[in-house]
Amino acid sequence: MKYESQAVAMPYFIFALILFAGQILFGLILGTQYVIGDFLFPEIPFNVARMVHTNLLIVWLLFGFMGAAYYLIPAEAETELYSPKLAKLLFWVFAAAGTLTIIGYLAVPYATLAEITGNDLLPTMGREFLEMPTITKVGVVIVALGFLFNIGMTVLKGRKTVINIVLITGLVGLALMFLFSFYNPVNLALDKFFWWYVVHLWVEGTWELIMASILAFVLIKVTGVDREVIEKWLYVIIAMALISGILGTGHHFFWIGPPEYWLWLGSIFSAIEPIPFFMMTLFAFNMVNRRRREHPNRAATLWALGCAVMAFLGAGVWGFLHTLAPINYYTHGSQITAAHGHMAFYGAYVMIVITLISYAMPTLRGRPNGNSNKAQVAEMWSFWLMTIAMVFITLFLTAAGVLQVWIQRLPESGEALNFMATQDKLALFYWLRLVSGVVFFIGLVVYLWSFFIGGEDPAIEAAES
């Protein structure tokens, strides 16, 4: 850590990981409800647990992105953060808003929450992933504006690198697209169409810019490869991400009302969406192979490589599996979608945040060479436990999805099994998914525990160049 103000990232990382733990706990509740339908009913109905699970994911990733920016931007701009005070203040505002929202979900029925938070005045609630009350959404916008102002001013007074410009572009895009969450027309087709402006143009657009720039930053640090090379890769990756991803939004427009040309456009452009992810994998392995130093923080390098591979598998391969319109016609809204969602979010966004935390956190704790070997070994165990568990979660959900399509979607009306009867047939896969989820949780516990392992600084094999 070169600049003192980078330390404001620390509370963001810690709070992100606390929320991550909460997300996984609720994931386990959901996994259990899939096999024991009335588990915790009526205290925590499925919809509430799911809302907590997905919203915690989004919020902790946002905390992770913000922490990443507060760490990365001063380092890249080679100057102190414009206002560390503002960053600390916004941390508490966002943490309070997030915590109150989750408490609201759990404490009162959703309809009551909608009523007391004034959803009648500007109805934005009750839509997937955007369930948070309208006032929380306003809070998010205020936090985002303050945050962007702060890092924007920092870059303005400092060095403008490709990495920090791309990161800021991604973050500004994220904030801009979020504004569509305030548009909720009565017309369901319009509602759904513009809902994807937030959801798709986040995860298959602006967030990819954030991910690629963080990856580039960590790769420069751990490999010592020339910045020129890294920046060229970064440009090509994000070029492909946006060239494929923007019109790739069309793969969500197949069945929700828009005209038929989206069947073609969505299929073609989303079929090339795996390319930027494949390039990220090539990029990460290439840079590590051409490394000019042996960075003693091997855990961070492992996360960076793993992130690139898992993002390609989860977002690229599992996305492609069901993105062509003739296939999506049968798989849309099945467990195959759930399989893709799990591995893509874990591989691309969970792992990129952990990659940065893995690199940054030791430096913030006065260990510029990374954690002790003992702590790194535990962290690498957690990498394999969580990652392999996620692979199995994805495989079991895919198997469930294929069977679901086979017995519920493919047969003609009258011969197809109904939804609930089909779900009973999938129980074995849901049990196996739950077991994998428990393994994931164990991996998470190991990961969190690794922060508390002391020991000596790792030996520096090749001194920092």
């Binding site: 109905p45 009750g126 060229k232 946006l242 929700i256 467990q335 099994l417």
Partner: protein, 146 residues
């Protein structure tokens, strides 16, 4: 990457490529919005449907169910439930009695909460589901089971 492919070429590809596709996307958005009136069943957007959509949202129905394939996959698809459960003839009768019977209380079965909606609210929610079922969805879902 080949040496001849320079960083500034990469940057131009990013800037030019994104700008080009953003403009196309905006154009297609305008075209879609222009074509939607013939497809989205807006002529049947009554006050009751509007009320029904609000109830759908205020009770977070999408947290368990999917609507035209979007939402959660824990409970049945409701985009075509209007046709699956009786259509013009008997959907409303079915729907009201079904909603009032929740939770069914069958041990181990997935359970739906009791939302305590009154008769007028159930009517509105049913109207919303009927309106949704009559949108042009390019023939999705593949069969009546959703």
């Amino acid at each position: 990457m080949a040496e001849r492919f320079t960083k500034s070429m990469a940057r131009n590809m990013y800037m030019g490529g994104s700008l080009f596709f953003i403009l196309i996307f905006i154009g297609l958005t305008l075209d879609t919005v222009r074509q939607l009136p013939e497809r989205d069943n807006r002529e049947n957007l009554t006050e009751s449907v509007e009320h029904g959509k609000k109830l759908w949202e205020d009770n977070n129905c999408v947290g368990c169910h999917s609507l035209i394939g979007e939402g959660a996959y824990f409970a049945p698809e409701l985009g075509n439930v209007f046709y699956r459960r009786g259509g013009e003839e008997s959907f409303k009768i079915f729907f009201k009695s079904w909603m009032n019977a929740q939770p069914l209380g069958i041990e181990g079965r997935r359970a739906m909460p009791q939302f305590n909606l009154n008769d007028e609210e159930l009517e509105a929610l049913a109207d919303f589901l009927e309106y949704a079922a009559k949108m042009n969805t390019n023939d999705w879902p593949p069969n009546i089971e959703g």
